[in-house]
Amino acid sequence: MEEVGAEEQQRFCQRQRLKAAVHYTVGCLCQEVASDKQVQFSKQTIAAISEVTFRQCENFAKDLEMFARHAKRSTITTEDVKLLARRSNSLLKYITEKNEEIAQLNLERKAKKKRKPEDGNKDSLEPDVDVGEQ
């Protein structure tokens, strides 16, 4: 009985920590919007946006899980996230563009990783050349 209580307590603490993290992020984002538009946000407003975001995450998570399962996958992919943005045309367009951007960036990063070992060799050679010149 006590163990169940402890587990419950732990889950509650985890939730609170995540909420705090969301609150911090929302605070930063609101600060940006505020300085951009020269309007202030009350603390309660920031707290309310955080709470809404945290609760929306439940819907998002359940939707994503269902989408993946519908496609007979156990891993959620960017296709599922795109489906999540279906309700608004401009949002879908933006998310699709962002997806391509992220894919492009990751491709470049992978290409760099492959190239890096060669760069490392060059770096180690260069000092030797300098010494030779001196």
Binding site: Q14, R15, L18, A21, V22, T25, V26, C28, L29, C30, Q31, E32, V33, A34, K37, V39, Q40, F41, S42, Q44, T45, A48, I49, V52, T53, F54, Q56, C57, E58, F60, A61, K62, L64, E65, A68, R69, S74, T75, I76, T77, T78, D80, V81, K82, L84, A85, R87, S88, L91, Y94, I95, K98, N99, I102, A103, N106
Partner: protein
């Protein structure tokens, strides 16, 4: 700039895993990154619509009242 103030991938991952019914469900790295952007848009959109409402009411501060007015449409859009 987005990297400094957006949602971190780890946070997004934990938020999603908190609500998954099946603990075997996984999220790909790209999906996490896109989801972080999605959440960032959600928050920025909430803030921006709040600002619009406050400006329409000729206020300098966005209060919960203004947020309440834009919230229904916001939730329909996401």
């Amino acid at each position: 700039m987005e990297e400094t103030s957006g949602f971190r991938k780890e946070l997004v991952s934990r938020l999603l895993h908190l609500h998954f019914r099946d603990c075997k469900t996984k999220v790909s790295g790209d999906a996490l990154q896109l989801m972080a952007e999605f959440l960032r848009i959600f928050v920025v959109e909430a803030a921006a619509r709040g600002v619009c409402q406050a400006q329409a009411e000729d206020l300098d501060v966005v209060n919960v009242d203004q947020l309440e007015k834009v919230l229904p449409q916001l939730l329909l859009d996401f």
